[in-house]
């Protein structure tokens, strides 16, 4: 790691102030992407603002028909939460499948969403569930939030405070892990709400998480794995690497989507 200044935020306002006070400061949530990147000297923020003690960013609640998860909620807390399990059980399962147990004890939903790693699990869930990301300044719909590889609608100084998920009638996520990193080689989240079906794909797309219109249309007509038969992804939009070329990923999008629907 390169040297940096460490700042410990005690409140959201404090965090915003500290973040603004340093031109090259970054927020530290669970640190499970940022710290490894810094250790390999691939990132060199001048300062880190540690959100670990900001109580107002924690907690899980049901608010009307929405499940609201605080940004600093760890994956383990989400996975084990009775509220999450009863309102969107598939989301608890997804959280319980991120990384490994130790990662889940530190990694947070806010950190994952802000980082928008193209192989992360949460972005697919947020897109499929039509979630809303609240920051210290505004609210942003998931569709408008994720802007491609590691890119989001977040502006300088903006801090994610909580994620709000409208409770769907059905939701599931199916992941095919990369054999080495265990990140999603392909992950597909499917959700059914009163009127519509939403399908979001992570790990596979050239430009990060994306919604799959043809699958949504098919599932809108009939919610069954069979309805997706013959629908895959377009290989030209897929990532190609040593673990999976575009054709394989395109195929897996279909397989994982069917498995996700079958799991609902």
């Amino acid at each position: 790691m390169y040297a940096f200044e460490y700042l410990r935020a005690e409140s959201l306002a404090d965090a915003a102030k500290q973040l603004a006070s340093k031109p090259d400061a970054k927020l530290l949530a669970g640190g499970h992407t940022l710290l490894p990147t810094m250790k390999l000297r691939l990132a060199s923020p001048g300062a880190l603002v540690d959100l670990g003690r900001v109580a107002e960013l924690k907690g899980i609640d049901k608010s009307g028909n929405a499940l609201v998860i605080g940004a600093m909620t760890t994956h383990a807390e989400a996975a084990d939460s009775a509220v999450v399990k009863s309102s969107i059980p598939g989301l608890a399962t997804l959280a319980g499948g991120i990384g490994d147990p130790h990662v889940r004890h530190r990694g947070t939903i806010g950190g994952s969403v802000a980082n928008n790693d193209p192989s992360a699990d949460y972005p697919a869930a947020l897109m499929a569930l039509d979630a809303t990301i609240a920051t210290n300044r505004r609210e942003i719909k998931a569709d408008a939030f994720f802007k491609g590889l590691f890119a989001t609608a977040l502006q300088d100084g903006e801090i994610i405070t909580r994620i709000s998920f409208p409770v769907p009638t059905k939701f599931a996520y199916a992941k095919f892990p990369n054999p080495a990193s265990r990140y999603a080689l392909v992950g597909v989240a499917v959700a059914q709400t009163a009127g519509a079906a939403r399908v979001a794909v992570t790990g596979a797309g050239n430009n990060g998480v994306f919604r799959h219109a043809a699958m949504e249309a098919a599932l809108g007509k009939a919610w069954s794995a069979a309805a997706l038969n013959g629908i895959a992804a377009d290989a030209k939009d897929m990532v190609s690497d040593i673990h999976g070329d575009a054709a394989y990923r395109a195929h897996l999008v279909g397989v994982m989507a069917r498995r996700a629907v079958a799991a609902t």
């Binding site: 790691m1 390169y2 000297r41 054999p179 080495a180 990193s181 040593i242 673990h243 195929h251 397989v255």
Partner: protein, 793 residues
């Protein structure tokens, strides 16, 4: 030798003595050690696969906070320090010696692989060393690189080493070419296959580390290092590198966190560090980051092979023909040349009576990390060739794969193969029978049908492996080009109170010697196992030793202990004769008790030990006081562990996922000293073999020579959920070439497993077209192809 059935003797599953420190966090690995005033090293490594070094500017680095010194290859050359070297001379078929190339400790004018060592930076803290290393300015002139084994020998390719035209280190062969050609001409059937033995990165969980220290008062050096053979490291540093005479150089390999071959070799890092320690005048500590392990630990395997089997009309094997290209990387590592030659081709007879075998091997330079021994070293590669060939031949000729093997098994011993080896003992059919029963081979069709109903494909794969271990007779390996002898030494020191210290040249880095060697001593001397301590890994304590690799510590290292105990018993009987006042020849020693027909009195071992030291019952003219004996053991033959592993897989054709449903291993290791530890060795070996077959692959970009799989993010290590439970049984024929009957067990699993997995996958797929590693993507693609056996060629 038979077991006494004692709770701690040979054959007992004694819980390990060493575990107390490991389970409480009190292990002492190299990086756990800190020396007063120590500094920290970081290496400047080449980002290029191949480049000329035009200029190195260390000014900025030296100005960084905490930086103490920066050393380059020129600095080392100026001190007339020797280069790294390969200790096994291979002679090409035209009689010319191998092209050993140049291997400077730090690069001289040229870098030859990504991660090659350019400069050593010494600073006050690890972070400062890294900061300063980044500040070393190196002007490179990038050169085209050759990283593709398939094309590296073609004319016009970039040259890795100036003295090796067409990047060819050697063109070696073994066997009777004419006899093989004659046999192929008569064959009813010929099976021909093309195989890749994928390149692996050892990845012991403890990264390599070293602490180098110079004592100006004594004019002596101490090197703490993660080594499987500290005496060999000392010998190399002294005799070849010229750091210091052996008596002025102490090498300590404390607790070592796994080796698997990768910690046998002398590397640039500890060599540069021990040299620099005197320059700096303070201890220098270097601990590899995992990223460095990926780039610069010696890799394993990396063969391309074409193999043919000639079979007669009755399903009998007539001959085998093998042509292999072996990637040796950019420099020859310490034992690199021997791995694809003498540790490979002599095993191509497998468990089979094959009248004629001919093998050609080209050793090839590429702009990649050096390749050397990795668990099994040559023998997994050979077994993969033999067991894939036999499997495909059985399928092509319409034989049951198990029965085809049985039909061709060697039946009587000793058996002289056409490729050097004389197998001394074995019962291959017994292992097969037991394996078929335990694996429920008969029930396979029902299980296949059940899988089919779930949309899954089930397959079974056999691997009847053999290995040559316990390396080895010094004269034999010397005649084959080895630069050293491969005996082992031991010293048994009996204390006056009867407790015993065993000093061994073997080195334990997970194998449990502190327990198994103590079991031997406990049984032979009739003393509690708690009264025995095993000392290893320090050249100041143990006089000499060749170290641990090639499954040799049981067969060779323990036999040295056994012989030293023989001498202790002889001396102790003399003492007993004086104490009991009976003729020495009448003294018996059994289960810790000295007795004689000539008297009713008996003495225990501790009583005799005390008498040996107080020396009241004999004069100095009659007998020397004390009880301490040493022995060197040089075996008369290799040992030949063998066995049958059976793998059963279930494949999801939709995703290409392979799940190993069952694993059955029946092994013949001869005498088993501690079945708990031996089974653990099998488990670990199988895991590494399964890793090779399904997951692991060191992938270099063919054009740039960049290592694509340079971290655990891209190099797939076996996790707990990738592996099955493993069912193990033993079927033993004692080894006749050592008194304990031990054959060795450390590499068996890694040798057996890859062929078993691939044979199972190809059985499930119904065709042979899949390479290692059989990743989900590869299996999915292979599952798209229609099941059709390869036509016989």
């Amino acid at each position: 030798m038979s077991s006494t059935g004692s709770a701690t003797g040979i054959g007992a599953p004694v819980r390990r003595k060493e575990d107390q420190r490991f389970i409480t966090g009190k292990g002492r690995y190299t990086d756990d050690i800190n020396r007063p005033g120590q500094t920290y090293a970081a290496f400047v490594r080449s980002p290029h696969a191949h480049a000329n070094i035009k200029r190195i500017d260390t000014t900025a680095a030296l100005n960084r906070p905490g930086c103490i010194a920066v050393f380059t290859g020129e600095d080392i050359a100026r001190d007339k320090v020797g280069a790294l070297f390969c200790g096994w001379m291979i002679t090409s078929k035209d009689g010319s010696p191998m092209k050993a190339g140049t291997h400077p400790v730090l690069a001289l004018g040229k870098v030859r692989y990504v991660g090659d060592h350019v400069a050593l930076v010494v600073a006050e803290t690890p972070a400062q060393a890294k900061d300063a290393a980044e500040a070393v300015s190196v002007e490179y002139e990038p050169l085209p690189a050759v990283a593709d084994l398939a094309t590296a020998q073609s004319p016009g390719q970039p040259q890795v080493q100036a003295d090796a035209p067409n990047n060819t280190v050697y063109q070696w062969h073994l066997g009777d070419k004419a006899a093989v050609e004659a046999a192929f001409a008569q064959a009813r059937h010929v099976t021909k296959i093309h195989l890749t033995n994928n390149r692996l990165i050892p990845n012991a969980i403890e990264p390599r580390a070293a602490i180098a220290e110079y004592d100006s008062g004594q004019d002596s050096f101490t090197l703490y290092t993660t080594s499987q053979n500290p005496h060999v490291i000392r010998l190399c540093l002294s005799a070849f590198i010229g750091i210091a005479p052996e008596h002025k150089l102490r090498v300590i390999a404390p607790d070592v966190g796994g080796g698997f071959g990768s910690k046998i070799f002398l590397y640039a890092e500890e060599t540069a560090s021990i040299w620099a320690a005197k320059k700096v005048g303070r201890a220098i500590k270097w601990t590899a980051e995992r990223s460095e392990s990926f780039l610069a630990d010696a890799h394993g395997r990396d063969h391309m092979t074409t193999a043919e089997l000639a079979v007669d009309g009755n399903g009998r094997i007539l001959a085998m023909r093998v042509k292999t290209k072996a990637n040796l990387g950019a420099y020859l590592s310490t034992f690199a040349s021997s791995v694809p030659t003498y540790l490979y081709a002599p095993l191509l007879s497998g468990q089979y009576a094959i009248p004629a075998i001919y093998c050609e091997v080209d050793g090839v330079y590429t702009n990649t990390a050096p390749v050397d021994a990795y668990r099994g070293a040559g023998r997994p590669e050979a077994t993969f060739v033999v067991e894939r060939l036999v499997e495909v031949a059985a399928r092509q000729t319409g034989h049951d794969p198990a029965e085809f093997r049985r039909k061709n098994f060697i039946q009587s011993f000793p058996h002289q193969t056409p490729v050097i080896m004389t197998y001394d003992a074995g019962n291959y059919a017994a292992c097969l029978d037991k394996a078929l029963e335990l694996a429920d081979y008969r029930g396979l069709s029902l299980r296949k049908a059940a899988s089919e109903r779930k949309g899954l494909k089930r397959g079974i794969g056999f691997s009847a492996y053999i290995e040559a271990c316990g390396i080895a007779p010094s004269q034999a390996v010397g005649s084959l080009g080895a630069g050293v002898g491969l005996w082992e030494s031991a010293e048994v020191r009996v204390n006056p109170t009867g407790s015993v210290e065993v000093l061994t040249g073997s080195h334990s880095h997970g194998q449990g010697h502190e327990t198994t060697f103590a079991q031997l001593v406990s049984q032979r001397l009739g003393i509690p196992i708690e009264q025995v301590t095993v000392v290893h890994g320090d050249t100041d304590k143990v006089q000499f030793g060749m170290g641990t690799y090639g499954s040799r510590s049981g067969a060779v290292g323990m036999t040295a202990v056994y012989k030293a105990i023989d001498k202790v018993v002889v001396k102790a009987k003399k003492v007993a004769g004086f104490v009991l006042e009976v003729p020495e020849e009448s003294v018996d020693f059994d289960e810790g008790i000295f007795s004689s027909k000539a008297t009713n009195k008996t003495l225990t071992f501790p009583e005799i030990a005390l008498q040996a030291y107080i020396a009241h019952k004999f004069t100095g003219a009659q007998l020397e006081p004390g009880l301490k004996e040493g022995a060197f053991h040089d075996p008369t033959n290799f040992t030949f562990p063998s066995g049958v592993h059976v793998c059963e897989v279930e494949i999801d054709p939709d995703t290409g996922t392979t799940r190993i449903d069952r694993w059955t291993a029946v092994d013949d290791f001869g005498t088993v000293v501690n079945p708990m530890i031996v089974e653990g060795q099998v488990h670990g070996g199988v895991a590494q073999g399964v890793g090779q077959a399904l997951l692991e692959n060191a992938h270099y970009d063919k054009t740039t020579g960049q290592l694509v799989t340079a971290s655990f993010m891209d190099y797939a290590m076996p996790h707990a959920h990738d592996l099955p439970s493993i069912q193990i049984a033993m079927s033993s024929t004692p080894c006749p070439s050592n008194p304990l009957g031990i054959k060795g067990c450390g590499e068996a699993g890694a040798i057996a497993a890859p062929a078993a997995v691939i044979n199972a996958i190809t059985d499930a797929l119904g065709h042979e077209d899949i390479a290692m590693p059989a990743t989900p993507q590869a299996v999915w693609r292979a599952a798209q192809k229609s099941p059709a056996r390869l036509a016989a060629e």
